[in-house]
């Protein structure tokens, strides 16, 4: 570990120079000759049947390209998991802003005007907008029962715990939708000709997802579809599945017009029409003994998937598996369910189900603590998973993690005890109420269970005659450091300087499929493969006698040159090989859910102004065990950024819905924190290593999303003595609860004047 020269070092971001000089080219920066501009005509009703489409005769429709569902050569759907989501609605509408028709024109302003001149009439149908309405099935809007997917996890004997319980604690916890709010809106450029086929460039996370979707939609073979990632201005999961839709639209316009077509959303369209975090409702019923140990319980975890299945089953999977938190459940039954409503489909957003179920678990731990009469610290300590115990899916904890010690370190870093005492004393009679709260949690990296085996990722490393190394992956950079980390790993494996390694632009015609850039898998899974492929190069050169074990850069260069002269090229590929002795039962949902868990303790300090009911976070400690920190600056940046989004999830980011349509789809009214709103986010790491990750790394990208919301609401409960069980928590909600509490206490004392 200590003689590493590149991994663990603060090397400069690989594409950083272009970013700080404005040279980086995002999709809207790219212009092509003869390019047309696209626009999407979308539904105004939440649910219904299209009865008529007409084009305003007062509008000049010459030079317009118009595409409807009839123009789709292949299958009118965006292939993902189910095939229920149409690319363009032909007849049935199932959510507001559902795409119906596409337009393209040379003038971006003219095409924008044209959208409102397409006149669509509908026969509206009754629509449903909440989990409860969906469950009541007053309308069946999907399948036979509005249910996309269910999971059942059972461990031990839950039904037997209730009679043994000293306490039975129940609670219901709710989380709202959250918009990813990448600063760069979704955008694509598509081009088609008979010779080269279809090429799409865009802002995206998963080039091969788009590739697969386009093949089916456009009825083209694999080699006639090429997808290239442009520099991408933030994604957070919001560009995992949605790009297949916008790419499909751009492709259809390009194929009909035989001209390049650029399709870029503005903020309002992006917010109202694309995916958001799944709203959730979690119900806990827990049997606890006198000292607060969990004997067992039932958890019901339900998410609102919107109108089509998209990725809801996978979000549900992760949320269900994480629902028990980092605790030992000797007996548990967890029912996960994803239901349909008439909103634009909800989708991937950092954390992917875990922030929702972990919010519930961590709030529920507070409720258990209060019921039993034990502190929030003790209740967790008494229930933490220990090595060799099993998780809710009966995965054995194989590493020597000591969560009690991690908690102790977190408490020390945050001055928890001192602050708690200080706040208790000072809150009385103060206009600012302070509190401090804890969240402890885990996050599994990589695809669940057999997912990685199914992906069968492949990675390539190629060397050129001048000794330059090129990493070839479909893994994308969108700020989290893919380019840098994978080049570090390759450079380290080949004992070369970081500067000698570059990474190919993700282009499906050039790079193998290393899987999607999701699930916190890039460093751990893809990084391992990069290391293997790089070592493969080394083995080839050493094995053929062209290089000794220790070599200089010059010697490496010479060996590459020799090899290429003899063999034509120097490439090495590595394919994912599932580790030995790891089992996962997809039917019983039992076994080794993830190759590695990262563990965390987050502690939030809040201040509540009793005059305005505003809650602000004053200090935040984010402590996590991550296996290995591959790049200190990048790792810290990931945690700080994730915590910021988590604070937004808790206190600022509210989607206002009206009949399935987002009403506040602008940055003025959808509020994310500015630089004036966040405390110093203090980030700390522990490194225990990880046998499955390169240099011991685990995935960390999504972990920071799980802790902030429950830690903050726990702190608010500490400050005010009022339990809030849903996020986002707005000052208006604090006001309503406080004034109700006040009314109740005034009623009790008979004192009518404040």
């Amino acid at each position: 570990m200590t003689d590493e020269r590149v991994v663990g070092k603060r090397v400069l971001r690989k594409e950083g120079r272009d970013k700080v000089t404005g040279a980086a080219k995002y999709i809207d920066d790219i212009v092509m000759e003869g390019m047309l501009y696209g626009a999407t005509v979308r539904s105004h009703v939440s649910r219904g049947i299209i009865s008529k489409i007409s084009f305003d005769p007062e509008f000049d429709w010459t030079d317009f390209v118009i595409v409807t569902a009839k123009d789709i050569a292949g299958k009118n759907c965006i292939a993902l998991i189910s095939e229920d989501q149409p690319c363009l609605a032909a007849q049935r509408i199932n959510h507001p802003e559902e795409p119906i028709l596409l337009l393209a024109h040379e003038d971006a302003h003219v095409v924008r005007k044209a959208v409102d001149r397409v006149l669509i009439e509908y026969e509206p149908l009754p629509a449903i907008y909440s989990i409860e309405e969906s469950e009541r099935q007053s309308e069946t809007i999907w399948g036979t029962d509005n249910v996309f997917k269910t999971f059942l996890i059972e461990k031990g004997d839950v039904d037997g715990v209730w009679e043994k319980a000293d306490f039975i604690v129940e609670g219901e916890y709710v989380t709202g939708a959250q918009e990813q709010l990448y600063i760069e809106n979704n955008g694509m450029i598509a081009k088609f000709d008979e010779v080269h086929g279809l090429t799409v460039w865009g802002s995206l996370q998963c080039p091969y997802y788009v590739h697969k979707a386009l093949m089916g939609l456009c009825n083209l073979p694999s080699e006639k579809v090429r997808v290239v990632q442009a520099e991408t201005g933030g994604a957070f999961g919001g560009k995992e599945e949605y790009p297949s839709m916008i790419a499909g639209h751009a492709a259809l316009l390009a194929m009909k017009s035989r001209r390049p077509v650029k399709l870029i959303y503005d903020r309002l369209e992006d917010m109202t029409a694309t995916t958001k975090r799944h709203p959730s409702r979690t119900r806990h019923r827990t049997a606890v003994n006198r000292t607060g140990e969990i004997l067992g319980g039932e958890i019901e975890f339900t998410i609102d998937g919107g109108a089509y299945a998209t990725l809801s089953s996978v979000v549900l999977s992760r949320g269900t598996i994480h629902a028990g938190g980092p605790y030992h459940w000797p007996n548990v039954r967890i029912r996960g369910k994803a239901v349909a409503t008439n909103a634009p489909p909800h989708g991937a957003f950092r954390g992917f189900g875990a922030p929702q179920s972990i919010f519930a678990m961590e709030r529920h731990m507070e409720r258990i603590a209060k019921t039993v009469g034990v502190s929030p610290v003790e209740i967790r300590r008494r229930n933490f998973l220990k090595p060799r115990q099993t998780t809710t899916t009966e995965q054995v904890v194989r590493e020597e993690i000591d969560l009690g010690q991690l908690l102790d370190r977190g408490l020390e870093l945050s001055s928890y005890s001192a602050k708690k005492a200080q706040f208790t004393k000072e809150n009385h009679g103060s206009g600012i109420k302070r509190g401090i709260g804890i969240a402890t949690f885990l996050h599994g990296a990589g695809f669940t269970g057999s997912g990685e085996r199914y992906l069968a990722s492949v990675v390539g490393v190629e060397c050129s005659a001048d000794g330059q190394v090129c990493v070839m992956v479909s893994s994308t950079e969108f700020g989290q450091g893919t380019n840098t980390v994978l080049c570090q790993i390759a450079a380290e494996a080949l004992a070369l300087p970081y500067e000698a390694v570059r990474i190919a632009q993700p282009d499906t015609s050039q790079v193998p499929n290393s899987g999607p850039t999701v699930a916190s898998r890039t460093a751990m899974i893809v990084g391992s493969l990069v290391r293997s492929a790089a070592l493969g190069i080394k083995q080839t050169l050493i094995g053929s006698g062209q290089l000794r074990e220790q070599y200089s850069s010059q010697e490496f260069r010479a060996a590459c040159q020799n090899h290429i002269e003899q063999h034509g090229s120097l490439k090495s590929f590595a394919r994912y090989d599932p580790p030995e002795g790891v089992f996962w039962d997809d039917v019983k949902y039992r076994g080794e859910a993830y190759a590695a868990f990262a563990w965390a303790v987050y502690i939030a300090e809040v201040a509540i102004d009793v005059c305005t009911y505003n809650v602000s976070v004053q200090d935040f400690v984010a402590l996590q065990e991550v296996g290995r920190v591959l790049h200190p600056v990048l790792a810290e940046g990931q945690i700080a950024g994730g915590v910021a989004q988590g604070i937004g999830f808790a206190l600022y980011e509210k989607v206002i819905w009206d009949k399935g349509r987002m009403q506040n789809g602008q940055m003025t009214n959808y509020i994310m924190p500015t630089s004036a709103d966040l405390p110093l986010i203090r980030v700390f790491f522990e490194e225990m290593g990880n046998i499955h990750g390169p240099h011991g790394a685990k995935g960390i990208g999504e972990l920071p999303m799980d802790g902030p919301a429950p830690a903050i609401l726990n702190a608010i409960e500490d400050a005010l003595g009022v339990a809030f069980d849903s996020v986002p928590l707005m000052p208006e909600d604090v006001f309503e609860a406080v004034s109700k509490t006040l009314d109740n206490s005034l009623a009790a004392t008979g004192d009518g004047e404040r």
Partner: protein, 292 residues
């Protein structure tokens, strides 16, 4: 961008005389645009009904902050940055300086103007409560010459004001008579910066031996226009500021305002917070008397 620039005319005559002549020739035919921080947002959203705009951003006659013995005159096209950085404004009219700091971020403060804030007439406009309590006067200019109107009563209803179709605001005058006052302002928004206010308060108070001899309170975002709370002022003046007086003021606030539920907040919240802020002001006023 949901408007087509090809459909819009924008002219920039170099002098105010030319501008007011155009406005007089075609009343209602030209929309003045200063810093553009409101107009251009509407334009980008495809919601700007005016098609012909006339720029007043660089007219020297509308800029500059003039300090006179008894008043300051702030050119209507002074930017928030100029206002917040001006020595006399920060010293003698801190509520206006503070409001300027609260309006958008630095980039918008560098372009947005006080005159624009007044004419755009958002009920949530940050500067307007301060103008109400400082009892600003507006100097209006047209081809007919200059006329002075008090800002109090200038806004007659939602987006309605006592400005003729061919008039511009030339300057905003503030009397230099507020030393010895407690100046209080708070803005409550969804975040600490770049927020449209849910409630905002500007208030002035002067005590003599723990009696309020002058109390002025104005609120934004709780009615179709920013309002001065006359009733509070009647309740509070010339009495010792005791608990029951303060409680009656709170009740008066709730009666005077008409807050709404909207995408940003709720009427109940606005009402409660408006009351809390006025109480906070009065308590601070009371406390300021005790320390002297």
């Amino acid at each position: 961008m949901r408007s087509d620039p090809a459909e819009y005319q924008l002219i920039a005559p170099g002098t105010v005389a030319e501008v007011i002549r155009r406005l007089a020739d075609e009343p209602g035919g030209w929309l003045p645009i200063a810093g553009g921080t409101d107009v251009m947002v509407q334009y980008a959203a495809g919601k700007l009904s005016a098609r012909r705009l006339i720029s007043i951003a660089n007219l020297p006659e509308l800029r500059g902050i003039e300090v006179l013995p008894h008043e300051i005159r702030i050119g209507a096209c002074s930017t928030y940055t100029q206002i917040r950085e001006h020595k006399v404004v920060t010293e003698e009219f801190p509520l206006l300086a503070r409001a300027a700091r609260w309006t958008g971020g630095v980039a918008n403060q560098n372009r947005g103007t006080l005159g624009g804030n007044i004419v755009n007439a958002s009920p949530a406009a940050d500067s307007l409560p301060a103008l109400l309590v400082y009892e600003a006067n507006l100097i209006l200019i047209s081809v007919r010459g200059l006329r002075t109107v008090p800002y109090l009563g200038f806004h007659t209803g939602y987006k309605k004001m006592q400005l003729a179709p061919d008039e511009l605001i030339q300057s905003v005058c503030l009397p230099r008579c507020y030393s010895g006052y407690l100046h209080y302002a708070r803005k409550v928004g969804a975040r600490n910066a770049q927020a449209i206010s849910k409630v905002c308060v500007a208030a002035l108070g002067k005590l003599r031996e723990s009696r309020a001899v002058d109390v002025r309170v104005a609120l934004g975002s709780v009615a179709p226009v920013p309002i001065r709370l006359d009733e509070i002022e009647r309740v509070a003046i010339d009495k010792p500021l005791e608990t029951d007086v303060i409680a009656r003021c709170r009740a008066a606030v709730v009666r005077a305002i008409q807050p709404i539920d909207d995408v940003r907040s709720s009427a109940r919240y606005r009402s409660a917070v408006a009351g809390n802020l006025v109480v906070e002001f009065l308590e601070q006023l009371l406390a300021s008397g005790k320390t002297t």
